[in-house]
């Protein structure tokens, strides 16, 4: 099966270079508009003006939380005597999400340029790209790109002959989903276990080494050069008022054409996206469900998508009953048992719970035990309520959002697919009796 990578419904922006030959090289990047935004910034934009453009762009954090990027940047205190850090979150581990991987593989200089502009705006001289350990090949690609940029005077001292100096370093994770949470990422970057930290203080005030720090996702930072090139207002116009620009969707599962799709924010609508752009459901099957934003969001049944005009942006998908999240768009056909898929994801959260807080550590473990007992044919009618009760004791009560992320798939699956659960919740003996009666 071939994977699609490109834009639908707009000119490709973040993906405009990914299909070029040797797109990972500085030469190809520069010949296709690369480092022009950095030049524009260094030629006379003040740090404040850069932040203003990002604010105007209505760019929202693409890692999953969707927090306005310009606002995040403006929280960094300008008068702090401490060093300031820009950290790129390339710990892409949300199930169903693989867009950052292709951005780094095929356009590493776009990330370097985005980081340099962010560093300029925030007064940072050292930046780190925290990449998940499994993406080792991307770390090697980034290291090569950084070396190339350094040789061309784009990283290090006197960047483009100006007084701006900034280092870009790669850093490796070692296999821990929790390190995608920004404070856990910072703990990990300091050489500790990846435990999340109390907020506030937020990283903008006290982050890496207790210094002001901005942590942004790869897709967020790689949007910055275009925002500077075209202006924040023009970038926002590509999307909607509250969700500016374009968004990458990682499409997987039972569609004929999985891939990385760049869509304008507010793309109309989800049904058309699945049935036409992704070429519909494979193997002549019917659509059963979609998890649109990585595993941590609510599952959507086909009935909430077909004929429902679900717009593909932050507000539109909330109206449709889920969230944009990381844009990890997982499509399931009618052969799928939602009980099984929910069990699979619950096992994921149990494995990835960092163990720091009790509700998440014990709760996810308990959830898996119940799921396994049900899967062994020992389901009881009251188990659906038991699962919901456990979720209720995790959601909003855990130290970081992992607890919520573990609860939401279960809550929505039981609500939207009660029959898939019900059929497992009768003791096996009775099921046999029922089918043979």
């Amino acid at each position: 099966m071939s994977m699609f990578i490109g834009a639908i419904g707009c000119e490709p922006l973040q993906l405009r270079r990914v299909s070029l030959e040797r797109s990972e090289t500085l030469d190809v990047y520069r010949r296709n508009g690369g480092y022009e935004a950095l030049k524009k910034v260094l030629d006379g934009m003040s740090p404040g003006a850069v932040i203003d453009e990002v604010k105007k762009s209505a760019l929202r954090g693409r890692g999953g939380a969707g927090f306005p990027t310009g606002m995040k940047w403006s929280f960094v205190p300008k008068d702090s005597p401490k060093p300031k850090y820009v950290v790129c979150n390339a710990d892409e581990s949300e199930p169903g999400t693989f867009k950052d991987r292709y951005l780094m593989e095929r356009d590493p200089h776009m990330l370097i340029e985005g980081m340099l502009i962010a560093a300029y705006a925030l007064g940072s001289k050292a930046t780190y790209i925290y990449t998940r350990g499994e993406y080792r090949y991307l770390i090697n690609i980034m290291d090569a790109a950084i070396a190339e940029a350094r040789a061309a005077g784009l990283v290090g001292e006197k960047i483009m002959g100006t007084d701006f100096a900034c280092e870009v370093y790669t850093h490796t994770g070692a296999g821990a989903y929790i390190c995608g949470e920004e404070t856990a990422l910072l703990s990990s970057l300091e050489g500790l276990r990846g435990h999340p930290r109390m907020k506030p203080p937020f990283p903008a005030v006290s982050g890496l080494y207790a210094s002001p720090t901005v942590v942004n996702n790869v897709e967020t930072l790689t949007a910055v050069p275009d925002i500077i090139n075209m202006g924040g207002a023009a970038y926002q116009q590509l999307g909607t008022e509250k969700s500016g620009g374009t968004k990458l969707w990682s499409v997987s599962g039972h569609v004929k054409r999985p891939g990385v799709y760049e869509l304008p924010m507010g793309y109309d609508d989800m049904e058309k996206f699945i049935m036409e752009d992704c070429q519909g459901i494979a193997n002549g099957r019917q659509l059963k469900a979609v998890i649109p934003g990585g595993s941590s969001v609510y599952i959507m049944p086909a009935a909430d998508i077909i004929g429902k005009d679900v717009r593909m942006d932050y507000e539109g998908i909330v109206t449709g009953g889920s969230m944009v999240g990381s844009g990890g768009f997982m499509v399931m056909d009618d052969t799928v048992d939602v009980f099984e898929t929910t069990k699979n994801l619950t096992e994921f959260y149990k494995h990835e719970s960092c163990g720091w807080c009790t509700p998440c550590r014990e709760g996810t473990d308990w959830l898996v035990k119940v799921f396994k007992r049900i899967a062994n044919g020992e389901g009881r009618p009251e188990d659906a309520q038991l699962l919901l009760d456990i979720c209720d004791n995790i959601e909003g009560k855990s130290f970081c959002p992992l607890g919520d992320a573990a609860s939401w798939p279960i809550q929505s699956a039981i609500k939207k697919f009660p029959d898939d659960f019900r059929k497992h919740l009768t003791p096996l003996v009775r099921q046999v009796e029922m089918t043979t009666a």
Binding site: R101, E134, G173, R193, G194, V251, G253, H351
Partner: protein, 189 residues
């Protein structure tokens, strides 16, 4: 008293130091210096994960001498190293096979046939998920999402991605490993 302190760290009276501390070639030491240079001098502990991958590359896993080396080099206690080593799934606190086959088991891979791939690997190698072959060459693991959902099902062999798998492709790949003809593409460098 457990062995917590190394020669480069402050030694309380009576504390024992490990009998053996790993040593590396000047080239590897220079590589390690390169990683340490990325972080502020008083924050060299930050380099622990990059350094652990180098120790694993050189020694196969985080054995006791390797862990003692890390503690010594980073100026931290041996417990601090174990604390980190036991948190992350890619850090090996016991030996693993030269060919570590890690099959993604999470949702997109699951619905695209990861189960069949795991079965094929298990059948081919005669070991179950979580086990290492008797000769120590192969380890089979099921792991969580590796960001290869659009090209599912997939497995990671060492650091190499193998995507859009079928049972036939798995057989071909494992045959190559068994003949020791497989060349790893991605390396810790």
């Amino acid at each position: 008293m457990s062995e917590q302190f190394t020669p480069n760290n402050p030694l309380p009276q009576g504390a024992k130091v490990p009998a053996e501390i790993a040593r590396f070639s000047p080239a590897v030491e220079a590589e390690i210096d390169g990683h340490l240079a990325k972080y502020p001098a008083e924050r060299r502990r930050s380099a622990i994960l990059p350094l652990m991958f180098i120790v694993q590359r050189e020694r196969g896993w985080l054995d006791k001498p390797g862990v003692a080396y890390l503690a010594d080099r980073l100026g931290i206690r041996i417990t601090d190293v174990w604390e980190v080593a036991t948190f992350y799934s890619m850090l090996y606190t016991q030996p693993v096979g030269k060919y570590h086959i890690q099959i993604c088991r999470t949702l997109s891979c699951k619905i695209m046939g990861a189960g069949e791939i795991t079965e094929q690997c298990a059948k081919h190698l005669g070991i179950k998920s979580g086990e290492t072959s008797a000769d120590g060459r192969f380890t089979l693991s099921e792991v969580e999402c590796l960001g290869s959902c659009g090209t599912a099902p997939m497995l990671q062999l060492g650091f190499d991605y193998h995507e859009n798998l079928t049972p036939e492709k798995v057989d071909e790949l494992l045959d190559r490993c068994q003949r020791d003809e497989y060349v790893f593409t991605v390396k810790v460098q």
